[in-house]
């Protein structure tokens, strides 16, 4: 351990980082590629919704304007989950393993709460995916997002587990950066979806 620290401190001038080194990790670039293509996917979903919505002559949405209360709270819950995921990485960099794991656990719990509230909202709607076009769009778009949230929760759980196993410190934590980046993406996409599904009916 001491030798390693020495090697890092010595750091010859023309030395290159080796392996999954922070922002130079290939995995980070790969995650950005994934985000680009998934963002395009959500873009096309939102395009489909808006393209169809503006051509509806009848009442849209059929069951009236969407209720904003619970979904706004849910949005806040998801966004705060991102904050805790980010905090985990900060704690890891300071080798505060217990705080880091706790932080990630809170992020996971908030994510699960989001899922729970979303499922409750789904249950509350009098219509389903096969009832009409709006139902198909609403459940498919929120469903796609929910699937991404579930994957994200699994990712956060794995990150928390690996942190608890002591894999990461200030020099090696690429997985945390990459996984958190995915989670932040999932959050930002939600903002777009929320705006499209919940807010645009009030404007169009």
């Amino acid at each position: 351990m001491n030798d390693d620290t020495q090697a890092v401190l010595l750091h010859p001038a023309n030395a290159l980082p080796v392996g999954s080194a922070g922002e130079r990790a290939s995995g980070l670039l790969g995650c950005l590629m994934l985000i680009a293509t998934e963002a395009a996917l959500f873009g096309y979903l939102i395009f489909s919704y808006l393209y169809l919505a503006v051509q509806q002559s009848s009442h849209w949405p059929p069951e009236g304007l969407p209720k904003l209360g619970l979904s706004s709270v849910n949005t806040a819950i998801l966004l705060s989950s991102s904050v805790f995921a980010w905090l985990c990485e900060r704690f890891v960099r300071r080798r505060k393993k217990r705080w880091a794991v706790a932080s990630m656990a809170v992020a996971v719990v908030l994510g699960i709460v989001f899922v729970g509230i979303q499922l409750h909202e789904w249950h509350d709607h009098p219509y389903g995916m096969t009832s009409h076009l709006y139902g198909s769009l609403y459940f498919t778009i929120t469903g796609f997002h929910l699937a991404h949230v579930l994957v994200g929760i699994v990712v956060l759980v794995l990150l928390g587990w690996w942190t608890a196993l002591g894999y990461f410190d200030e020099r090696r934590h690429a997985a945390l950066t990459i996984g958190s980046l995915y989670w932040h993406f999932v959050d930002i996409v939600w903002l777009f979806i929320f705006t499209t599904l919940y807010l645009t009916p009030y404007w169009l």
Binding site: A15, G19, R24, S26, G30, A36, Y51, S136
Partner: protein, 669 residues
């Protein structure tokens, strides 16, 4: 035997893992090369076959599999041409014909045209860039397995007479459950989503590889045009593929779950939604399947003209410009759908303008030949023929970009002629020429010049005889996608000519394949650089060793192997030249050098993964999951999704050897 060091310097105690170390320069002797071979080579036998991550093996797999699909698609076409050779023929029923023309399109456009270019790119990229592998070797293996499984999936129902039959473009409502109740469309829809996964991860791999896996000194203006081509389309794919995956998923949901995305009863907007989502993907796709092939010509043609490509910069820019403009022309497939005049004007103009970058490339090629000293070897014949076919295909496209004329031309055989000139002319001809060119590198043997010439002339004459008359058929009003026609429509002669020509063309392909099989065993042995070509892949043995480059080369120009003999380059001092035999040493396990994106400066030492079964397993579970969805076995699908998740977790588990985690558990501070 003790574990080799993961990252250490001489004198370090065993078990040291340095997170930074200086690059060492030098040469490598035979013992060093033998050590590298042991580090990089794949195990023999079925174990190695399932777990290899070697980009060269994966590249060859893509090529072979793509050629198999080319043959299948070709046979489908020949059967159709037998039916269409004469009016009112009864070789095929309408349903059989509809499945044949659909599967012909699907096979050629999705299972041959891009995968064959992925094959060339996968094999060649690390070699032409001076690297040891792609950025994500396991992902590379995965993208091949999913391609193979998706291809099998897409053909699963065809032998049962239940192949997709609504055209490769699959318009709703013809492809909806009401009008197409069998499994045909479900197989197509789910198969396309599965294939899209392969395409997407492949695209991500190419982009990240380009951003960092290059030799030092290979700045962005020194990369081969093939790389520009594949890079551009990979970025394009990341943004285009989700559109069609979404469309097919929505169609499947409509058909089997009961959603209402494409329900036409409530307003025609929904039928057009399919067309928009489909063409937003499919138009960029047609550039995806030709830009890398144009890059092959831009790189290989100059070798046979004994001079560098004229206008490298403009050609690189024109590649990117074509892809970018390619995203804003999709409505030219929908000119006749009743869209607004403003849209017609915009998309018609963009569709004309997109041919300007192509003009740049065309004149670059002609100028290279004009100013060079052509060598009439087989690859040159294919590349020269390509230029003419490119122009013919391009100008027929310009005609269709004229909106009112398109209202006559669209959905006639004129379009069939156009699309075959661009697809066969701009994809197949460079692929065959490229095969003749790189076969020595892949196998260590030359192909036959004699058979190559015969293949070229049969293909060139047969192709033009087959497809030029189709322009005439279209101008005489023959619609597309008809299984037969009456004898008094004026189409008899052109159809007979086309049928004859297509068989001549097929004969040419057959000669090409015979040449491959013959030359594999009996071709003359080739050295590292039989064509005296300038790029890095020709500096390594034929075939290359598993580690590609013994030392990481240092690059100083676009033409490292020609520098010493090129006017102006030869005058430069030795230290400003490329270094191939002496360079950076990276041999502590599988290692590669990462460089900066634009300037190509050394940036990071990358630890590359060992062979792994995870890509195969994940690919298998994914394919089986889609099969379960097609059969509507929801429980099995859920279980397979879980299996996929476990495979991904295993794959991504942080490894010590890749320096993704601390070697010993971190203690709380």
């Amino acid at each position: 035997m003790s574990e080799p060091p993961i990252s250490a310097m001489p004198g370090d105690p065993p078990g040291t893992v340095r997170l930074a170390r200086p690059l060492q320069r030098g040469t490598l002797d035979e013992a060093g090369k033998a050590r590298l071979t042991e580090i990089w080579e794949t195990r023999p036998g079925w174990r190695g076959w399932l777990s290899t991550v070697d980009h060269k093996t994966i590249g060859l797999r893509y090529l072979v599999t793509a050629f198999v699909f080319l043959l299948m698609g070709g046979i489908e076409a020949l059967i159709m041409r037998v039916q269409l050779a004469r009016p009112n023929a009864h070789v095929l029923t309408p349903e059989q014909y509809d499945q044949l023309f659909t599967m012909h399109g699907v096979t050629m456009i999705f299972l041959y045209a891009l995968p064959v270019l992925s094959g060339f790119s996968n094999y060649l990229w690390p070699l032409v860039l001076g690297g040891r592998d792609m950025a994500f070797p396991r992902l590379n293996a995965f993208s091949y397995w999913v391609f193979l499984f998706a291809g099998i999936f897409l053909y699963a129902s065809f032998p049962l007479g239940q192949g997709a039959d609504a055209g490769w473009f699959n318009y709703v409502p013809l492809s909806s459950l009401t009008y197409d109740p069998g499994p045909n469309i479900d197989v197509y829809a789910l198969g396309m989503v599965l294939l899209g996964i392969s395409t997407t991860v492949g695209a991500a791999n190419f982009v990240v590889t380009l951003l960092r896996m290059r030799a030092p000194g290979m700045s962005i203006d020194r990369i081969p045009v093939l790389v520009w081509g594949t890079l551009t389309i990979s970025v394009g794919n990341l943004f285009a593929v989700p559109s069609v995956s979404l469309a097919f998923l929505m169609l499947w949901l409509d058909r089997r779950i009961g959603t209402h995305f494409f329900d036409v009863m409530g307003g025609g907007a929904r039928a057009l939604l399919w067309q928009h989502l489909f063409w937003v993907f499919a138009h960029p796709w047609v550039y995806v399947v030709v830009l890398p092939a144009m890059g092959i010509v831009s790189d290989a043609l100059p070798v046979f003209c004994r001079r560098p490509l004229v206008g490298y910069g403009p050609v690189a820019i024109s590649t990117v410009a074509t892809m970018v403009i390619g995203f804003v022309v999709w409505i030219h497939h929908m000119f006749a759908t009743g869209i607004a005049p403003l849209a017609l004007a915009f998309f018609g103009s963009a569709s004309m303008i997109i041919s300007i970058p192509s003009a740049v490339a065309t004149f670059a090629w002609i100028a290279t030949i004009w100013l060079g000293r052509p060598v009439f070897k087989t690859p040159f014949l294919f590349f020269a023929g390509f230029v003419l076919l490119f122009v013919i295909g391009g100008v027929s496209g310009v005609m269709t970009a004229a909106v009112p004329l398109d209202w006559q031309l669209t959905d006639t055989y004129f379009i069939v002629a156009h699309l075959h000139y661009v697809l066969i002319g701009i994809n197949v001809f460079p692929v065959v020429g490229g095969t003749y060119f790189w076969f020595p590198k892949f196998t260590g043997r030359m192909m036959s010049e004699r058979l190559g010439r015969i293949a070229f002339w049969l293909m060139f004459v047969g192709f033009n005889l087959g497809f030029f008359p189709m322009h005439i058929a279209g101008l005489l009003g023959m619609p597309r996608r008809i299984y037969t026609y009456a004898p008094d429509m004026g189409w008899n002669t052109v159809n007979m000519l086309t049928s004859i020509g297509s068989f001549v063309f097929a004969l040419g392909i057959l000669v090409f394949l015979v040449d491959i099989l013959y030359s594999l065993k009996r071709g003359p042995v080739a050295g590292p650089n039989p064509w005296d070509a300038p790029s890095l892949e020709w500096s390594v043995p034929s075939p290359p060793p598993p580690y590609n480059f013994a030392v990481v080369p240092i690059v100083a120009s676009r033409h490292p192997l020609w520098e010493a003999r090129m006017q102006e380059e030869a005058e430069k001092p030795v230290r400003a030249r490329s270094h191939l035999d002496e360079g950076y040493l990276l041999g502590q396990g599988r290692e590669a050098l990462g460089t900066t994106a634009v300037g190509g400066k050394p940036h990071i030492i990358l630890k590359m993964p060992e062979d792994s079964y995870a890509p195969f397993m994940l690919g298998l579970f994914a394919a089986l999951c889609f099969a379960a969805l097609a059969m509507r076995w929801w429980g099995a699908a859920a279980a397979l999704i879980f299996a996929c998740g476990v495979s991904i977790a295993v794959w991504l588990w942080p490894e010590r050897a890749l320096i993704q985690r601390e070697p010993a558990p971190v203690q709380e501070r």
